[in-house]
Structures are given as C-alpha cells and as structure tokens.
Amino acid sequence: MNSSSAAENLQVIRTLMERAALYRRALAPIMLLAGGIGVLAGVVALLLRVENLHTFCALWFGVAAVAVAGAFLLARLQSLKDREPLWSPPTRRVAQAMAPPLTIGFLSGVLAFTTAANDDTADVILPLVWMLCYGCALHAAGFFVPRGIRLLGWFFILGACGVFAVWLCSGRPRDAVTANIVMGVFFGAVHLAYGACLAWTENRKVAA
C-alpha cells in the first residue's frame, strides 16, 4: 500500500463514519405524534373559534410545547431502549442546525403576542412566518438526518409561498379561520402524512 491509497482509505473511512452518524432516532413516531397533536389543535381552534391573536398565539405555542415534550419523551425512551446516550453527537448536530430558524419563529410569535392589541384578529401571516422558519429548520437538520427531511423542509417553504400567493390574489381580509386551517393542515396533516410514510417504509425495510 502506498501513501495515496492510505490517504484514500482514510477519506473513505471518514465519509462512511459521517454517514453512519446520521440521526436515526424515532423519526416516524415523532412525526406521527406532532401531526396528531397539530390536527387535533386545528380542529379545536376551528370549533372554539379561536380568532383573537393572543389566544391564537397561546394555543399554538402550547401545541408546540406539547409536541416538543412528546418528541423528547419518545427520543428518550428509544435511547433508553437502545442503551445510547440521549444527547448523542447526531442529536446535538440536529439540535444545533434547527436552533436558529426555530428561535426566529419563536421570537416572531412572542413579538406578535406582545405587540398585539387586545382585539386584534389572527391572520395568515404569522402561520406563514412559522412555516418558513420551520421549513428552514427542517432543511438544515436534513444534512444530518436520512430519508428526505430536506424535501419536507422545502414543502413547508414552498407551501408558505403558495398560501401567501393564494391569500394575496384572493384579496381576503384578516381571517383567523384560514390561519387555523393552515396551521392544522401543515403542522398537523403534513406531519401525519410524512410520519405514516416513514413508518410504512421502515416496516418494509425491516421485512426485507
């Protein structure tokens, strides 16, 4: 073996080790849980006519908190089952990649909540900002997660652009119903569909 093939072997080892260190933990159950909570919250928001901006922000912040807590619990359970540390290097990379856009999304919600007047109505702009931030977060995490999560990120980003275009063209006024539907569909139904797709393909892989 000469030095160039030794260097080549080292490069191959590095590439394979990076590929193996992708985040693989409980993605399908986390997506299904987040989707289920999102759909439920969307239905509740429509039934209870959540229209006030303060109530809208509080409801969806609460939903996000429950979904994050549930995701943490699922990841923790899987790490205990597999006898792996929860805060593993892949988990750390995913968290670091998602943190900046999620922080912007959180701050935009806080800003909307704190600056809104008591009788302000929620409209579709805040959900679109959240979708854009979340889409960017998924896309960034996609570099450390297998299986098309970057595509899901693009789906959120392009979905936000599409909804904004339709909303502009339709000339609809400030409308909390549309806002709740957008939240329920994208943060609920889309997550559910993606989680179901992941679970189905995982089962097929195990069966193979």
Binding site: M1, S3, S4, A6, A7, V12
Partner: protein, 101 residues
C-alpha cells in the same frame, strides 16, 4: 526499530468491504443488517460473508432479536474490534505522514 507500518496492517480489516463495515460500526453503537446492506449497497451474501469473517476475528458481535414478529439482526463492534480499528487508522496515518516527510 519499528517495522514498516504496511506490514502491520490488519488483513481482516484491510479488505474493502470489511473496512466499510468496520467504519460504519465505529461511528455508531450498533446497526441492523439491513441498514448496513442499504448504506453500503452490498448483496446479502456478500455482507453476510464479511460479517462472519469479522465475527470470527472477534471484531464484531451479532445479535439476533425480534422487532414485533419480524427477526432483526444487529451488529456492533466489540472492544477488541474498536481497538483493532483504531490501530488500523493509526497505521494508515503513519503511512501518510512518512510519505510527507
């Protein structure tokens, strides 16, 4: 005097397919047979042969269990396997450094 690093390279690890398997397993606690096969794009027969060789050398531990009703085979590096892989990498680095000098 140190012998040439090339002569010390572990022949079990030095084969391309086994090196790939060892690299993947070194980066994670364990991987299923299916994940290894899909990541490396090897055939079932090929990967089974390599894993058996690594298992016989004591570098890889294979565990068979069930996920639901389906059988699940997982592979992990053993402690001697981890040490052998680390020293293999050290030797490769020595070869590269000697060439640079």
């Amino acid at each position: 005097m140190n012998p040439e690093p090339i002569s010390q390279l572990d022949r079990v690890i030095h084969e391309k397919g086994r090196l790939a398997i060892m690299s993947l397993l070194a980066a994670t606690a364990k991987l299923s047979f299916t994940e290894l096969r899909d990541t490396l794009g090897m055939t079932d027969g090929n990967i089974t042969t390599h894993i058996r060789t690594l298992q016989e050398a004591g570098y890889v531990a294979v565990t068979k269990s069930f996920e639901g009703s389906r059988p699940l085979t997982t592979c992990a590096l053993t402690e001697p396997g981890r040490k052998a892989f680390a020293s293999y990498i050290n030797l490769l680095e020595q070869i590269v450094q000697r060439a640079r000098q």
